[in-house]
């Protein structure tokens, strides 16, 4: 008798699990928009808010804050009503990238300036770190044609034209530590492993943390280079100087089920503006007519 109850309850649990997994719904435009943002200190956030004209404003009330690029992506992937901003180089094909003002987010459109939401991705460093051979070599590599090719292949926008090829020095040994922006991190990992192939005895370690971490670690000498994904702000790392590795678009992404294709800057602003008042867009039917 007891065993029957146990089996029955297990079956019910299983059934629940399956319905939860297989449930597919049409897109419901009357639902609230789940606005996804990044934590304070994120370069993507600083850049995005500045670019859509909301510099230094707080997030809208019901924002969901994810502290990392991957967290944002997984939220949009799983949540049908989500909207988020994300480094273009990081966006995967299982979410939908919106056109902004009718312009697609591509490297060409970013370079020409017709795609409005883009920012530089940079490394910040203390001048003195370049005195070390291995650091200097990696810095030179970032400016080389080898690096520019990887930058372009990964969908970022190279800003260095006619770069020279990198000349490897087989005698070089050392270690380079890089940390900071999670937007620049995936590209930097690619660059680092390509560099390690050329310079087998130099170890390059890349870790995340966000742009705030990048500034902090570079300024305090914790890392050789700090990665940032916003315009260089000297007050955040007073001892440092910076080098722009490439330009990157900030994509506006929604769930695949969302029928929307295009969004205007005004609409974006009214979604993310905490002080939009009557203009504030909180439901999808405010955009999808």
């Amino acid at each position: 008798m007891k065993r029957h109850v146990l089996i029955a309850s297990l079956l019910v649990l299983l059934a629940l699990a399956f319905t939860a997994c297989t449930e597919t719904k049409d897109f419901d435009t009357t639902k609230n928009i789940s606005i996804v943002a990044r934590e304070d200190g994120s370069g993507t956030k600083t850049a995005f808010m500045e670019l859509i004209g909301l510099k230094d404003k707080a997030d809208p009330a019901n924002v969901i804050i994810q502290n990392g690029t991957a967290g944002v992506l997984s939220e949009v992937r799983g949540n049908p009503t989500a909207v988020a901003y994300e480094s273009l180089g990081y966006v995967t094909s299982d979410v939908k990238t919106l056109k902004v003002e009718g312009v697609e987010a591509t490297a060409a459109n970013i370079k020409s300036g017709s795609y409005k939401i883009s920012r530089p991705l940079s490394v910040v460093y203390l001048e003195s770190v370049l005195d070390t051979e291995a650091n200097k070599a990696f810095y030179t590599y970032l400016q080389s044609s080898d690096a520019q090719k990887i930058i372009a292949d990964e969908g970022y926008v190279s800003v260095t034209d006619n770069a020279p090829a990198y000349a490897a020095n087989s005698a070089l040994t050392g270690a380079v530590e890089i940390s900071g922006s999670t937007s620049l991190q995936p590209l930097m990992i690619k660059l680092a492993s390509a560099f390690e192939k050329l310079q087998a005895n130099v170890k390059v370690t890349v870790s995340g943390g966000g742009s705030g971490t990048g500034y902090k670690n570079a300024n305090e000498g914790v890392s050789t280079f700090g990665m940032i994904s916003e315009e260089f702000n000297l007050s955040k790392a007073p001892e440092c100087t910076h080098y722009v590795v490439c330009k990157d678009g900030i994509a506006v992404i929604v769930n695949e089920k969302n029928p929307l294709d295009n969004i205007s800057m005004d609409q974006l602003k009214n979604i993310y503006d905490v002080e939009a008042g009557a203009n504030s867009i909180t439901k999808w039917d405010g955009i999808i007519k």
């Binding site: 019901n62 924002v63 804050i65 502290n67 705030g212």
Partner: protein
């Protein structure tokens, strides 16, 4: 001469070892002292500088210098209260059923499993919440279409505090003298009446201890909460709304912020420390009061 040297050696060794043990004994006090000094030395002047009105306000915007943590205090309290409520309800009944209503072999097995629950790292609880509970709430019962929030965090936390509640209250029940149980049965009470009306009241102080311990765990938990609560620094008005707790506030910014913003996080830590301190004090008062009460009750008999 030789004997004298050996003797001196032994005396010296005793002195050294006494010093080593003394050092070990005061080390934890020293660590506590350091943390308190660190928190208050940088946290309190900051609260003074921005003014308590700002600090206990509701607006948090690092760009404009608004460091109000009231909404986070409220969110922390909500999450703690709700998760303790869930946890106590489930945990206490679990303990009761393990106490007298389960076959002994099953009891050992279930206790093992519950203890295993205590060993799971909190980030795993958070991940589970993020991937299973948040979407489930979002797609089923949430009226606003948001799965993040106080309810999701409370669900996750209530499971996390279960082991504490179950083992502490089960131990308390087991510590009640057996003759209470037998006496009650002999007077004609049923097993259920005995457990709920005799044993449970007798184990009251242990159950309170379980409550206080789990409140402590719930208010301090960070990683599991950060993943499922949404982290928006606004005043909670609904169970399904992105809010931020004190611990989440600290963890979100600690690695990235600097200057005043970082100091604001330390001040948040001061708040959290004060809460924990109050909790500990009330716990000792509770336990002390219980002991005194027992002594008083024992006196007339002797």
């Amino acid at each position: 001469m030789n004997v004298n040297r050996t003797f001196r050696f032994i005396v010296a060794r005793d002195h050294i070892m006494r010093g080593v043990f003394l050092f070990c004994a005061v080390f934890s006090i020293f660590a506590l002292g350091c943390i308190i000094v660190f928190l208050f030395a940088s946290g309190l002047p900051f609260i003074g500088k921005i003014g308590p009105g700002n600090f206990f306000g509701t607006e948090w915007n690092l760009h404009t210098g608004a460091y109000g943590i009231l909404s986070m205090i409220v969110a922390s309290l909500y999450v703690t209260a709700l998760s303790t409520l869930f946890g106590i309800t489930i945990g206490l009944f679990t303990a009761i059923s393990l106490y007298r209503f389960c076959p002994p072999r099953a009891v050992a097995f279930i206790r093992q499993l519950i203890n295993l629950l205590a060993g799971i790292p909190s980030v795993i609880y958070g991940l589970f919440g993020l991937i299973i509970i948040v979407p489930f709430l979002r797609d089923t019962i949430s009226p606003s279409g948001v799965g993040y929030g106080i309810l999701a965090a409370s669900f996750v936390l209530s499971v996390m505090i279960l082991p504490t509640i179950v083992s502490v209250s089960l131990d308390a029940l087991n510590a009640v003298p057996k003759n209470y149980y037998e006496g009650s049965l002999a007077l004609g009470a049923t097993k259920e009446q005995t457990v709920f009306k005799v044993m449970l009241p007798a184990a009251k102080s242990g159950v309170f201890a379980a409550v206080v311990l789990s409140i402590g765990r719930a208010i301090g938990e960070t990683m599991a909460v950060i993943l499922v609560i949404g982290n928006s620094p606004v005043m909670p008005t609904s169970l399904f709304q992105s809010v931020r707790t004190l611990t989440a506030n600290i963890a979100l910014g600690a690695l990235e912020l600097s200057g005043d913003a970082l100091t604001a996080l330390i001040s948040t830590g001061v708040m959290l420390f004060v809460f924990t301190l109050l909790l500990n004090i009330s716990f000792s008062l509770l336990m002390g009061g219980e002991k005194r009460g027992k002594k008083r009750a024992a006196k007339p008999a002797s």
